[in-house]
């Protein structure tokens, strides 16, 4: 210490320190510092330890729980789980206590340490070294140096900012330019950008007319999804056991609850399991697989399919075909479009359907649009994609809960209407724009049956809700309702005069379409999940055991025949002139009169 400090006897502190106090303070400081250091080391170690092994996420416990699932009655295993669980909980709460107590203790030690250090340091004065040049001789130099460093710092920051800015790229910007190029006037993408596997400009030949649609079986429940077949000479008799009128029977390689669709000489269906999603094309004369195409490498597709009910499966939605394209939707939200020869045109993911049983609503092709119903737990949507390139045309939000029903197309005299049924609405949309045309609140529960349209009236049903008949016109209104023996799975079948409702336990009821009067009800022995189809004045209905019940679409119940297939069936057959195609649990059947 310089001499002159002593001469300047200015003491800002209190009385001179007694040595004993200083000594005590020193000792306390050392002890507190050591304790604090030990404690903080312990706490750090503790933190690292609990971070690597959270007692509440014990691996051992999880393993034991898995074992228990296999041997649910193992009492010893249960005891073991209970003991381990108790241990884990104790460890967790002890850990909480340790952290709390530890931090309080650490705080106390630090406080003591600080106080002692303060006492020690309060005895030391910070007086200037008067031997030194006052005022800092290098005042100007310091300033100039500071200026230089500031310039360097500022320039450096600016350069880093610019460099980062130039390097950084935003998915958003890329997407923006992409969608701007693709569709200059259209709205921005509804979901993911389509994946241009093939040229998006597929020569879009004109879409098929109504006549062509009616000559084929283009989607779930046939043309317009109404369950009415226009084919003539449909066979009425067959037997799977004796192979009578069974033209061919082939196994379908992958399971699926979707129904076959037909265009020309080709029959399409899809199958999926946890790993793959495949579209199959069969030759409908021989039953041979003409091509199969796996849907994979889709941007945004989940690595694993969502957890769904096995009874729905990963391929519940039926395909849609229009002679140019065949489109498939899967439980993963994947949508794929192929040409008639199996070449993938486009594929995209619409987001994993938030559906606790699994997505089941089938899409429908209308003119140049693929209409995908997407009513999920988290809200309803109707997604329209351009069938030629998968680009989004519109997306309509629907104020509905989840549903499994498929859309139908109601060709009213005024306009085509896309009708959807869900809780709580039956609603119709302009298929070209998605504009809502009307809605009637009449559904509830988890809606499965699809609606039906005939002669200016829309019919919708759900178990525990009602069978509702809605008369279209200036204003869509409920004309009548019926509350008993309602369908929960099977879709409605409507003609100008009659409505057929099939309860899932096998009770078929027939109503007068305009008044709602119930003509008859008949109990069939087995449950029914398939939907009835009208062909040549007869109603064809397959029960879950594969027995096709054929009865007249008439005011009284007049059974015609029952044909056994010998295999469980949950899908809707496809009807073509002289032919019926049935997808049973694992086989596909071609049925028709053998030309002998």
């Amino acid at each position: 210490m310089p001499e002159d400090r002593k001469t300047l006897s200015v003491s800002p502190g209190a009385a001179p320190a007694s040595d004993s106090l200083l000594q005590a303070a020193r000792r306390t400081a050392v002890v507190a510092a050591v304790l604090a250091a030990i404690l903080s080391t312990l706490m750090t170690a503790h933190y690292l330890q609990t971070r690597s092994a959270d007692p509440l996420k014990s691996q051992a416990l999880a393993r034991l729980m898995l074992q228990l699932r296999d041997n649910p009655e193992d009492a010893a295993l249960k005891e073991q789980i209970r003991a381990l669980d108790l241990l884990a909980r104790r460890a967790y709460f002890l850990n909480q206590w340790q952290i709390r107590t530890g931090s309080f203790l650490l705080f106390a030690f630090l406080l003591v340490f600080l106080a002692s250090m303060k006492i020690i340091h309060s005895r030391r004065l910070a007086l200037p070294d008067l031997g030194r040049e006052p005022g800092g001789g290098s005042y100007w130099e310091e300033k100039l140096l500071a200026r230089r460093y500031l310039l360097l710092l500022g320039t450096g920051l600016g350069l880093v900012a610019v460099a980062l800015g130039l390097v950084s790229e935003s998915e958003l910007k890329k997407y923006g330019s992409l969608s701007a190029r693709r569709e200059p006037a259209g709205p921005p993408g509804a979901t993911a950008g389509p994946d241009p596997v093939a040229s998006p400009k597929q020569a879009a030949s004109a879409f098929p007319g109504l006549e062509a649609l009616q000559q084929n079986w283009p989607g779930f429940r046939g043309p317009d999804g109404n369950g009415v077949a226009y084919a003539a000479g449909v066979p009425a008799e067959w037997d799977g056991r004796s192979s009578k009128n069974i033209l061919w029977k082939v196994p379908v390689p992958l399971p699926g609850k979707n129904s076959p669709v037909v265009w020309g000489s080709r029959l399409f269906l899809s199958g999926a399991d946890k790993k793959s999603e495949v579209v199959f094309c069969f030759d409908r004369e021989s039953g041979k697989i003409l091509w199969q195409s796996e849907l994979k490498d889709i941007p945004g597709a989940p690595a694993e399919p969502p957890r769904i009910s096995e009874d729905t499966g990963y391929a519940a939605p039926t395909l849609a075909v229009d002679g140019r394209f065949v489109c498939a939707v899967f439980s993963t939200g994947n949508v794929g479009c192929f040409d008639m020869d199996g070449k993938r045109i486009w594929a995209r993911n619409l987001g994993i359907p938030d559906n606790h049983y699994g997505h089941a609503s089938s899409p429908l092709i209308f003119e140049d649009l693929l209409l995908v119903p997407f009513d999920q737990n988290s809200g309803g949507r109707l997604v329209a994609l351009r069938v030629g390139d998968g680009s989004p045309a519109y997306e309509k939000r629907r104020e509905v809960q989840i549903s499994w029903a498929s859309p139908i197309l109601a060709r009213t005299p005024a306009r085509p209407e896309l009708v959807l049924s869900a809780n709580p609405l039956v609603a119709a949309y302009d298929p070209r724009t998605g504009e809502e045309l009307w809605q009637v609140k009449c559904m509830s529960g988890e809606v499965g049956p699809s609606p039906a349209y005939a002669d200016g009236m829309v019919f919708a049903v759900n178990e525990y809700a009602r069978l509702a008949a809605i008369r279209l016109g200036a204003k869509a209104e409920m004309a009548w309702e019926y509350l008993e023996d309602l369908s929960s799975v099977s879709s409605l079948l409507a003609t100008r005069d009659y409505v057929f409702n099939v309860a899932s336990y096998g009770a078929v009821s027939c109503f007068q379409a305009k008044t709602g009067e119930r003509h008859w009800i008949h109990d069939f022995p087995n449950g029914v999940y398939s939907s009835p189809v009208l062909a040549g004045g007869l109603v064809y209905m397959i029960d879950i055991n594969g027995i096709t019940h054929i009865f007249k679409a008439d005011k009284t119940f007049q059974p015609v025949r029952s044909n056994e297939l010998g295999e469980k069936t949950f899908t809707v057959p496809a009807f073509m002139p002289g032919r019926i195609y049935i997808r049973a649990e694992s086989n596909l059947y071609g049925i028709g009169e053998k030309s002998s």
Partner: protein, 457 residues
């Protein structure tokens, strides 16, 4: 009505039977939704449903009390610094503030953080800022404009936390202090940008001390806090001087303050006793050394600096705007949109929780993208402003360094001074004022300095 179901089809099984079957099967489904799957029971035994307890938040009365205590503490700090000039009293008030605002009130909202609420309110129409926050924002600034940074002297719990750990402060060389002093500007700019765009409250996220008040914080923050305190034993109040964003505003206000504390109650005779008394480097030693003569060069240089100012501001603004894509990622909506697109493009394998939540929300992508796009636009504008502001701050600081301050006495850098009162007791005139020494005992300045004369300010 239900016949034996050996098989469950997807659709339409209403109600309990299916739910239970699925449940037993272990099918683990979607997000929680309100669904009346099971009817409300009709109790026969006279059972009464318990009430759901909803404990109330801290009452409004406390918020009012906080404002009152803040105002009182500021007034007291000002009085103690200006009138009583007693470091001991200021220290006691400081301990009180630390206990009340720190450990009792546990931190939020503090004036330092309130800047963000204020900016969020100014730029977001939907956000109504509570009066408490306004009071916490304005009161310390108003006091600083009138009386200097008395808030920092004895009210701010973050400052107090560091003030009590000062043990052996070292002097930071002038150029280093000048450069470190630029950090708060950067921190403030980022804080304001993120607050105004609604991205995040950066200052709150990185607050090193609030964890001590609550006895709980994430481990990295505790580490940050501890290292700040350890550093604080030798570098006095490092957060206040070299990080605090609110300190920048207080600095401005205090520079222009109407009345500011002085080292000496009367005059300065350059006795040099206070020279090392300030641990914060806020005491400016006299500059008597004749500067190099002002030549044409210097004048030209100064003129150039002023002429270049707009260019610097523009360049910095451009740099800031260039950075907007990076900055915008701090906003959850923008990062979500990018994540969703990246996921769609098949770039990320695992579906992250935000993407899952987004997919479940059913919100159309177009809506999300247009929101994110608008936000990027805001960040672009914000980037221009932020960059420009930083450019201005740097350029102005450099001009300021070029200006030749010549001061013959020891005085305080009003912007940096915390009015903590440490230096008062070093001044012999203060001792005279307190009657501790007679006026003629004031020491003469040492021989070897050329700072003779007295300042009769």
């Amino acid at each position: 009505m239900l016949k034996g179901y050996s098989y469950m089809f997807p659709s339409a099984r209403t109600g309990a039977a299916l739910a239970i079957l699925c449940w037993l099967g272990g099918a683990w489904a979607a997000w929680a939704q309100i669904k009346e799957r099971f009817p409300k029971p009709d109790f026969q035994s006279g059972y009464i449903r318990p009430d759901l307890q909803t404990p109330a938040p801290r009452s409004m009365a406390w918020e009012m009390a906080d404002i009152a205590v803040l105002a009182a503490a500021l007034a007291a700090a000002t009085y103690l610094a200006h009138r009583t000039r007693s470091r001991r009293s200021i220290f006691l008030l400081m301990i009180f503030s630390l206990l009340y605002f720190g450990f009792f009130r546990e931190g939020c909202v503090c004036p330092v953080g309130s800047v963000q609420n204020v900016f969020l309110a100014l730029f977001t129409p939907g956000y109504a800022v509570p009066f408490t926050v306004i009071a916490f924002f304005l009161l310390p600034l108003a006091f600083a404009l009138l009386f200097g940074r008395t808030f920092c002297a004895a009210v701010c719990p973050l400052g107090m936390m560091q003030d009590v750990v000062i043990l052996k402060p070292v002097r930071i060389p002038g150029r280093l202090a000048d450069i470190l002093g630029a950090i708060p500007y950067i921190y403030l700019t980022l804080t304001l940008l993120f607050a105004a765009t609604g991205a995040t409250f950066l200052t709150c996220r990185l607050d090193p001390f609030v964890g001590f008040f609550r006895f709980g914080a994430t481990f990295p923050l505790v580490l940050f806090g501890i290292s700040m305190l350890v550093l604080g034993t030798v570098v006095a109040r490092p957060y206040c001087r070299f990080l605090c964003p609110y300190g920048v505003l207080l600095d401005w206000m205090s520079k222009l303050s109407w009345r500011h504390v002085k080292i000496t109650p009367g005059e300065c005779n350059n006795c040099r006793l206070c020279e090392d008394s300030c641990p914060f480097g806020a005491i400016r030693t006299p500059v008597l050394e004749s500067p190099p003569p002002v030549g044409r060069m210097e004048v030209r240089r100064l003129a150039m600096q002023f002429l270049l100012l707009p260019a610097v501001v523009l360049a910095a603004g451009w740099a800031g705007a260039e950075l907007h894509l990076v900055l915008a990622r701090m906003h959850p909506v923008v990062s979500l949109a990018e994540e969703v697109l990246a996921h769609d493009a098949g770039k990320s394998g695992e579906v992250s929780d935000p993407v899952k939540a987004y997919r479940a929300s059913g919100k159309p992508l177009a809506e999300l993208l247009s929101e994110a796009d608008a936000l990027q636009g805001r960040f672009r504008t914000g980037g221009w402003l932020a960059g420009g502001f930083l450019g201005l701050a740097f350029a102005w600081k450099r001009i300021h360094l070029l200006v030749r301050r010549k001061s013959p006495w020891y005085d305080l850098d009003r912007g940096a001074c915390f009015s903590c009162g440490r230096c008062f007791s070093y001044c012999p005139y203060e001792k005279v004022r307190l009657g501790l020494i007679p006026p003629d005992a004031v020491p003469e300045p040492p021989e070897n300095n050329n700072l003779n004369g007295k300042n009769h300010a």
